[in-house]
Amino acid sequence: MAEVYDILIIGGGPAGLSCAIYGSRSKLKTLVLESSRKLGGQVADYHEMENYPGVVDTTAPELVDSFEEHAKKFGAEFARGEVAELELDGFIKKVRTEKGEEYQAKSIVIATGAEPRKLGAKGEDEFRGKGVSYCATCDADFYVDLDVVVVGNGNSAIEEAIYLTKFARKVTIIVIHEEGKMDAEKLFQERAYANDKIEFVWNSTLEEVKGEGIVDTAVLKNVKTGELTEFDCDGIFIFVGRVPSTDFLEDTEVDLNEQGYIITNDEMQTSVQGVYAAGDVRDKPVRQVVTAAGDGATAAVMSQSYLEAEEHWRENVLKTDKQVVVAFWNPTDNDSLDTLQTIEKLGVEEDDNKKLVKIDTYRNTLITERYKVTEIPTILLIEEGEVVERLTKPAAEDLEEVLS
């Protein structure tokens, strides 16, 4: 039989690697499945990294290399593959890649992140590799002393525009908003205004890319007047936001929001039990390396507590011939302590046909919620996996009646 992983992480960016660090350090059998040649996700394409707490002087590639080293140190395994299909019902889940490899895992963490959004301008695809680019570090070398256009006004667009001024003669940023308004944070805006190689065209978007073999003209459209102007340039860099990489979830029960981001609760739990999401792929307000890493840690810890609760339940309650007396209790609740005492007095633990399982409702929310226990103490009698008797806040006589 194929190996069964405790946690299978789809995606090796900061969220996935952080999850792998936490998972493998907790001795869980952890696999990271990454679709591209290199780990790091979107960070692998960045250069500067100024706001990862505690790491003052680093670059994005360096930071992500140390994430990888850190995960490997605790024994996380890595494999390459693009997920084609998921089977998420049942305790053991299956992941199949496009090349046909199959992996099995008890919990899944989806950390597939997001990818640059295409603008959809005319000529955008045709001129890819011929002057239209989505990666400044890859292509900046071509533009030494040339003129480039950057489309977009978020953090990435402005950071990349500033980076490109180290190469290009002039960088013109095309901003869809009115003059003086950008989505990027203030710090980047100020740096851009202070850079004499940067110019702005406001109220505008890229309508069309033109050229003979390679790009020579950006056709800009004024969004207020509809007017089109031809703008001479040698390259066009497009940074107009991102879209979540969740296409492979289409045929699953994992709930997505309207934009395709995965909906989770505060514990990174998706709509499918045992399936978690972490990082940029999740529906949330802030998408930063540090928040992705935080998500990854939360997902690993929550998936571990899910595994412990689920495996304990299967082992002790579902896989036995005996009648199981499940006592939902909490150490801070006196009534539940009294009830446990009564059960012990009735000799349940000495009875060969009975078995006592205590569930601390504070620690084991999984089983507590599954059996809709809202008051403690609650006692369930379970035979062959089925509840045959349910007692809420039972009196000693009631317990005596059903247990002896």
Binding site: S36, R37, K38, A44, D45, P61, R128, G129, K130, G131, V132, S133, Y134, C135, T137, C138, D139, A140, D141, F142, V144, G213, I214, V215, D234, G235
Partner: protein, 105 residues
């Protein structure tokens, strides 16, 4: 894989008969560096059927642009000196290059 530059490009690519596959790359292009070993594998696979070569755009920028290459990684396939196909993008996979080359050999 053959190293191309301004001096030998004409002879090795444009005046060469048969199939030539040129990998345009640079040191600062991470996806290029990751792709390179896989392209080298393809060079072995197609040995005798296609000539594989690489061009570092550092110092050869104008030459690359003359071939209408302005983005990395770029793989351009030539047949009898005529440009046939230009594959590009940071998510370019060796398998896509393999499929494209297979159409010409």
């Amino acid at each position: 894989m053959l190293e191309l530059n301004k001096d030998n490009f004409e002879e090795e690519v444009l005046e060469s008969e048969g199939i030539v596959v040129v990998d345009f790359w640079s040191e600062s292009c991470d996806p290029c560096l990751e792709l390179m070993p896989e392209i080298e594998n393809l060079a072995e696979k197609y040995e005798g059927q296609a000539k594989f070569a690489k061009l570092n755009i550092k110092g050869n920028r104008r030459l690359a642009m003359s071939q209408q290459v302005m983005g990395l990684p770029s793989i351009v396939i030539y047949q009898d000196g005529e440009k046939q196909e230009h594959l590009s993008g940071e998510d370019l996979e060796a398998s896509e290059v393999d499929e494209a080359v297979a159409n010409y050999v």
